[in-house]
Symmetry: C2
């Protein structure tokens, strides 16, 4: 048993309209009670900030319930057990959990999952390439979009946590050509020089619809959509017959205050026999074991490069979340909390 | 061998912009040469006018090549062999072919397919419920939208050749609820009284988005889209998690002169894990044998009701096509040519 300690937590104070601001959050310091039997206390090393969290700030029907106002921002986090009243999770165990934006988490051991670190790979990878974002890339590409060797793949938001993994998996699985979009010259350079994309462009340089065709002279068979809006429309312009789009997210839309019209070329779905399929990784967790084995091997082989953008301190969790929404991260955006 | 005769044909004279007019077509009378060995001459009884033909009038990339200006409007037709220089198709054989808008067709026997009439079912059914439109309904519902017993199905353009068959097949396969939209009170009445839909509404009475929810209190699992535009948007509002839409056509868009924006709620594809899949029946002809057997049995049992709207005379083919595009038909729109 450990004595009580303080947990610094970020609560949702009010629901944002449009872009969230600091006023929508509140930092709360909570005195933790002593551990009850079966509980553990975890000092988080990293917490995850993800685009889908913006949707949870709204009070609308979605695939995960909205965050409650006045409650902590839950989500993925990784840390180490520092006090334990549960045999199965002794002090020193690295664990993954969903208690989110706090520096110290506490609860029943069943709420925490022990993870086996991969040699040479930091534990934070369980929030990224070995976690939900990596699995999202894998499921979206292989299951939702039914990727086949020889396909040309276009990935939007390609320098992000999901997109950078999608492109590299596509290459490893035998894509004919991998094209990515990102929001800065630096990211575009990373895509081709570090992540092995065949072509990349900065979507801020000119409308996507104008830029994409030159990079996809033979069209696109698989589109992995993290952005929505103009990107989806541009992809539909160049998709080949029987093309498939995995719709993972639409970060371009999340802070919109009104409904934006959709692509003006959905007619291509019929004439080219296209499939658009949205998905939520949480419904495909049966792929997790296979994925972690394959990705673990690729990481050990140095076949996949990953990056993290790390913001220091739980007090900067909101800043990190907003920076991620603005696209200021390369790879997985994380908050370091110890 | 027969002596020469005259074939009255409708040619595409120029490409329409927006709604076609009579000026875009030309009636041409052609003296047919004597039959060459291996050829047959067919007097058509019915020719088919279909929404997809509007797309072929444009000079754009699509799944079938555009009609050539100055050439006959090709498409489905059914008739009887009246002269034959081909053993395999003797005089009197009922045949299906793609020579389209003409009263007399002539060519190699291999261009004509003998059909076995179903007792009590007119040969014109091979252009409708036993032909491509029926197969479109079957493939779209069962393969593209992966219909499962217990699904709630919404069909737009439900009184048309495809839609009326979709709704009836869905009922026969165990739908929980079948909802249809159509463009007149008379059609709405037909949907519930003749075709067995559980609910129907007139999309001209009020925006689809306002009307559909009341008819789909438990949401929609499968949407069969013949209309596009507002209908697709309204369907996306009410689709249940894991819902599937088969996109067959978008008749609301075919005569548009500019690109119309798409639905403003494509975000639902991600949050509800929806699939939109376009298809072209010509790529699913491997289902034709199974379909004709099943539909043939349903027709013999009186389990499926079909209607035809018949315009008399090849000289009125254009009128019939335009009337169909305006939604003036119930069931399959046909031109009777003998």
């Amino acid at each position: 048993m450990s004595t009580g300690t303080v947990s610094t937590q970020i609560h949702l104070a009010s629901r944002p309209t449009g872009w969230p601001t600091a006023e929508n959050f509140r930092t709360v310091r909570v005195d933790l009670p002593n551990l009850a039997p079966g509980q553990v206390r975890v000092e988080n090393s990293h917490i995850s900030v993800d685009p889908y969290m913006r949707g949870r700030m709204n009070d609308v029907r979605s695939y995960v319930p909205p965050f409650a106002v006045g409650e902590v921002m839950t989500g993925g986090a990784v840390g180490e057990v520092v006090a334990s009243a549960a045999e199965e999770l002794p002090v020193g165990t690295t664990v993954l959990h969903q208690q989110g934006w706090r520096d110290v988490a506490q609860g029943d051991a069943s709420d925490f999952t022990a993870v086996q670190p991969v040699p040479g790979v930091p534990a934070s990878a369980f929030l990224g390439v070995l976690g939900m974002t990596g699995l999202t890339a894998w499921v979206g590409l292989t299951t939702i979009a039914s990727f086949r060797p020889g396909d040309t793949v276009f990935v939007s938001g390609a320098a992000g946590a999901v997109g950078s993994v999608v492109g590299q998996i596509a290459r490893l699985l035998g894509a004919k050509r991998v094209i990515g979009s990102a929001g800065s010259a630096e990211k575009v350079r990373l895509l081709t020089e570090r992540y092995g994309f065949d072509a990349a462009f900065n979507y801020k340089d000119a409308p996507v619809r104008e830029q994409l065709p030159a990079h996809a002279p033979d069209g696109v068979d698989v589109y992995f959509d993290n952005v929505g809006g103009d990107h989806l429309e541009a992809a539909l312009d160049v998709m080949n017959d029987d093309g498939r789009a995995a719709l993972c997210g639409a970060i371009s839309q999340y802070n919109a205050t009104g409904a934006a019209p959709g692509p003006d070329n959905l007619g291509n779905l019929v004439t080219r026999r296209l499939t658009l399929r949205g998905f939520i990784v949480g419904h495909h967790l049966d792929h997790a074991t296979e994925y972690r084995e394959r990705m673990g091997a690729w990481l050990r082989d140095g076949a996949v490069a990953t990056d993290e953008t790390v913001i220091e301190g739980i007090d900067h969790a909101v800043d990190g979340f907003l920076a991620m929404m603005r696209g200021e991260n390369v790879g997985k955006m994380l908050i370091r909390t110890r």
